[in-house]
């Protein structure tokens, strides 16, 4: 293995952080979707699930920062700063980068409203949160089109694994949705005995 040169390093870090970001983001989505699953109101939601969803989302911001920074600074390809947030503004691989920008925008809106959730109120927060269902597919499509990693077997496996996890979670959620806002409560306590 040759030692990586400076320019190549940026490229590798960008790809690596991108893959890590996809994994983390997929986990965030699965945790968020799983919060509404289950036949009892409480079976799938614990404090841990909710807090993990939130904490991982903040990690995603860090990965995203690294991914975007290294991609823009890399002089081998020309992606301006604007292309990071303005979809389809990049001349280099317009579609692929544009999808990434779309993901950044929608995920950004979800993030900002979530940080200000208590001030916004539940309804407004929930309405914007739906954009997560735009952000993830855009991120995945960006990974598949912009990344060159599908040729590496373990990267491809990871990416398709993420897709499978998210798809499973969504299907399970749709099935659970059919049961209505309140489903069966937890089992009733056993009866103690006769009257009096």
């Amino acid at each position: 293995m040759t030692v990586l040169g400076g320019a190549q390093a940026l490229w590798f870090v960008s790809r690596g952080s991108g893959l890590a970001l996809l994994v983390a983001f997929s986990a965030v989505v699965v945790l968020g979707v799983a919060a509404r699953l289950g036949s009892a109101p409480r079976r799938w939601t614990t404090l841990a699930t909710g807090e993990l969803h939130r904490t991982l989302a903040l990690f995603c911001v860090a990965f995203l920062g690294l991914h975007v920074l290294t991609a823009v600074l890399d002089r081998y390809v020309t992606i301006g700063w604007a292309a990071v947030v303005v979809p389809f503004a990049s001349r280099y691989r317009t579609l692929a980068i544009g999808l990434g920008a779309l993901a950044v925008d929608s995920a950004g809106a979800v993030l900002i409203t979530s940080l200000a959730r208590q001030r916004l109120g539940y309804r407004a927060w929930r309405a914007v949160h739906w954009l997560a269902y735009l952000a993830w597919p855009a991120a995945f499509a960006h990974a598949v089109t912009a990344g060159t990693d599908l040729r590496i077997w373990w990267a491809a496996l990871t990416e398709w694994g993420c897709a499978a996890a998210v798809a499973t979670a969504i299907v399970a959620r749709l099935l659970a949705r059919a049961r209505g806002p309140f489903s069966e409560p937890p089992a009733m306590p056993e009866r103690a005995g006769r009257i009096r």
Partner: protein, 87 residues
């Protein structure tokens, strides 16, 4: 810190879905009824639990748990209770 914080936990029963995160996060103040829905005592939150109460209200997925500030802070009720360490 001993004494009351002048704040009280309240559940909006219409917003609440009975997910139970609050009782997990703050078992000192919140218990669940036989159907999984939170019961709050209505008593002021002790000062040493105020930060936890705030975090718990933030963690509620439906924003049904609210921390209400009472108009005048209550005098210390349990002078003997020990504060949590590491607050």
């Amino acid at each position: 810190m001993t004494g009351d914080s002048g704040a009280r936990l309240r559940v909006d029963p219409i917003a609440c879905d009975g997910r139970g995160l609050c009782a997990e996060a703050l078992p000192e103040l919140i218990t669940l009824d036989d159907w999984g829905f939170p019961i709050t005592s209505g008593q002021p939150v002790p000062a040493w639990l105020l930060a936890d109460a705030r975090e718990t209200a933030r963690a509620c997925p439906k924003l049904a748990l609210r921390l209400e500030h009472l108009r005048s802070p209550q005098p210390a009720r349990h002078p003997g209770s020990q504060p949590r360490s590491g607050l």
